[in-house]
């Protein structure tokens, strides 16, 4: 009951937050000196009449506040409007969201499956050569910028010919049977997943290692050991539970990054995900598309935090006590 009430409160809090986010982003986009019709204007074969028709269609002849009102009204009704090419924003997003989700969920899944055990291992075998070697590699992983790593891997793909150069499917995808399609997508995913996986693995492994080390040093772990519990029980039953709190918060952020976290890598690999769509939309000030993506980002972030908080309440009695009042 308490949890339900808490969730309700949190959801109510998001409403003013979303309004503020939308206002600020709308005005910043519209006040920037970016002209959505720039390309048309510089095309010698486009006539004045066409330009005027376009201006009217996009509503650029009205004051910003009216434009915002129009957008907000349809947004509340659940209509995201049309892009500057006249396509529905919702269909545009629907095309891309599955691709991005495919990439990010694989990465998050892999990173957590591999990162957490590696973190635990290097904490348990603290200061052994194993831990040291891992530390070196995770430091490299954390230091290398994602786009640079992506470019390196692309060159690698070109020179060896082992992997396709970007994209998600081959040009004869339509004629493949199910397993060939599966293999084709997997083949295309290897490189982008490698990039994102390396980066998030490094962070996660360091985080887990640090947390666990802190906990391993505490009195109750010493007591558990003194009681004669097996090392396995000490770590998994006592230490790990206490070390996992910050990671849950991290999971909340990972959730927020599901849709937007891979933008740079997507761009370098020409991956047909949301990142590339939004970047192109921002460059030509395609207001409905940009607003939709910003709002989506804000909602995902809030949701992610909410989920993390709820998980925390469930795992940690200390927080549960605090939230009640």
């Amino acid at each position: 009951m308490q949890i339900l009430l808490y969730i309700l409160k949190r959801i109510l809090q998001t409403i003013p937050l979303l309004i503020i986010v939308s206002l600020i982003s709308f005005f910043i986009i519209r006040l920037s000196p970016v002209d959505p019709l720039a390309e048309l204007r510089l095309n010698p074969s486009v006539s004045k009449e066409t330009l005027q028709a376009e201006t009217q269609r996009l509503g650029l002849d009205k004051p910003i506040i009216v434009q915002y009102g129009k957008w907000a009204k349809s947004f509340i009704k659940g209509d995201l409007g049309v892009t500057s090419n006249g396509e529905k924003v919702s269909t545009k997003l629907k095309e891309r969201i599955p691709n991005t989700l495919l990439l990010t969920t694989i990465v998050i899944f892999l990173a957590w499956i591999v990162g957490i055990p590696l973190g635990i291992l290097s904490a348990v075998y603290w200061k052994t050569p194993f831990d040291r070697i891992l530390t070196v590699f995770t430091s490299i992983g954390m230091a290398i910028p994602s786009f640079f790593f992506a470019v390196l891997l692309l060159i690698f793909a070109v020179k060896t010919g082992w992997f396709p150069v970007g994209g998600l499917t081959s040009s004869n995808f339509l004629e493949m049977n199910f397993w060939q399609k599966f293999g084709d997508i997997a083949h295309h995913l290897v490189l982008p997943v490698t990039v994102l996986f390396t980066l998030s693995l490094a962070g996660l492994q360091r985080q887990m290692r640090g947390n666990l080390l802190d906990v391993l040093d505490s009195d109750y772990v010493k007591f558990a050991r003194a009681k004669g519990l097996s090392e396995f029980k000490v770590i998994f039953k006592h230490a790990l539970r206490n070390a996992v709190n910050p990671l849950i918060t991290l999971l909340g952020f990972e959730f927020a990054g599901l849709l937007s976290g891979a933008a740079l890598t997507e761009y370098v690999f020409q991956y047909p995900g949301l990142g590339r769509l939004i970047l192109e939309a921002v460059l030509k000030s395609d207001i409905n598309l940009v607003m939709a993506s910003l709002m989506m980002g804000a909602v995902m972030l809030i949701l992610g935090n909410l989920i993390a908080d709820i998980l925390l309440i469930m795992t940690d009695p200390r927080i549960r006590g605090g939230q009640a009042c």
């Binding site: 545009k92 690698f156 060896t160 998600l168």
Partner: protein
Amino acid sequence: MYVIIVLVLIFGLCKACIRRDIFSENTPQLRPKEELVFADYRIEKNVTVNGVDYLQSQVPVGKFGGQFVSSTIGEGPKTFNPFNSKDNISSTMSEIMYDGLVTTNPVTGETIPKLAKSFTVNGCEYIVNLRHGIKWSDGKPITADDVVFTWNKIILGGFGNTSTRDSIIIDGKLPSVTKIDDYTVKFVTPKPFAPFLRMLSSPIAPKHVFEPAVNRGKAYFDGFLSTNTRPEEFVTSGAFKLKEYVPAQRVVFEKNPNYYVINKDGQKLPYLEKLVYLIVGDINNQVLKFEGGELDEISLQGANVARFKEMEKHSDFTVYNIGPDTGTMYISMNMNNRKNDKGKYYVDPKKQLWFQDKNFRQAVDYAIDRKNMVFNIANGLAYPLFTPETLNSIFLNKNLKPYDKDTNKSRELLKKSGFYWDKAGHLLDRFGNHVEFDLYTNAGNTEREAIGVMVKQDLEDLGMKVNFKPIEFNSLVNKLMSTLDWDMVIMGFTGSPLEPNGGKNVWLSDGTLHIFNQRLEGDENSRRYGFENRIDYLYTQGALATKFEDRKKYYDEYQAIVYDEKPLIYIYSPIRIVAIRDKFKNIYPTTLGGVTHNIEEIFIE
């Protein structure tokens, strides 16, 4: 385990990098134009077989099957409706599917029949004879009804992008289109209007598919045949028809089984089963994809040309020099002398004095070292340019001779207008103002940025102070088109090598792209410069005359005026270089037609 993989990757990378990427410093010697095999391209001829009027390919007979993979840079097509397209990529995609009545001879630039069997021009009257027995991709015949419907309802009815319609309104009147019989159509323009013949290359729509959409109104038509349309719904007349569109990845076209071109053995073309366009984000990715073997054709620029030329020796592709491109690069000065609605001058009055001074503009022109730019920025792969018509234009005025940088002449011209230099060598005008202004271009375009740096140097040799400011493309366009608060800019246009009238938005004094003296709404009747009036006259007359020789006279004079007055200072025109895989035969790239003008004849050996 993972560690080992990363190590292997890094090792492989290092090895791969060492192996290549070393190429000679010399400008590559591309095969000279005269030697090109494609100069002997023979265009397709009309033949009648069993009562069907086909076009017959005159080049060697090839094998059927396979695919050709090309690419487009950017976000891909925005629509597949040929009447709605407002950008190059959408137009290219829809032109593959929908043929026009006429087309351009890729070698000579003449207008030749395509979907039409023949045409005759008699003053204002154009009689077009259609082919008997040819069909849409769904098997329905292509008749005069389709042509009349396309012109009367869609184009003249103002559906979609109305630019074609807007450009043929002569004295407030539109041409008329009437059906004479099932295979003959008559077009009548209100006055003789030479550019009209080329406008007949507008695509023809299948009436049975487009009519329901047209009946539902303009708003519906804007979304008709959009990128979300199912490929089966396309009914086309071109060599290919849409098979699959995957957003941000590729567009796949398949062969149109009813295409009306046959080879010498009487088999229906195209040879290729599929035509694929990959949608790539930028040039670097395009180059990588070509090197990775995913692309069959690529346009090359700058340093890549030298690298590809070196790789050509041990690779499976050939680098072709197609000749001058239609792109131009120019410097413009803001010659605006009006005030904005707040009563402030768009251009600082002291600067107006400089930019509106012909001597000043010529001095800038003589100070610019075009050859140096061609060598250092375009890697020698461009020609210095002095005229608004590009070097491959059939209307180029060949009497206007190129010249070299001449600083002394610049100084003389400046002195003539009362400019002088102080002891430190700074240039001052006759009222003692330091000559200092901003030079803009769009950031991110490395070529224009490099030109900007060199222009700045050249002008600073004359004692001018130039603040070079590359800014974001859309902001720059906003400056050029709306706020008009700029001094000097480096920009580029793509011109048409066939029809100077395509440049009327730039050169008519009330044009939407009259960049050097942009007139906003309310300024339409403001005073013109003398040369602006003259160009207005020449452009109008040039369009009304119908004989090529008569038109040439008008367009020669306009080029001479621009050459002398320098409202736009042209810098260079790049050479188009493409690399194509050797397995493709019947490749005849031309400067006017590009690589894919004979896509139906290209085959894989």
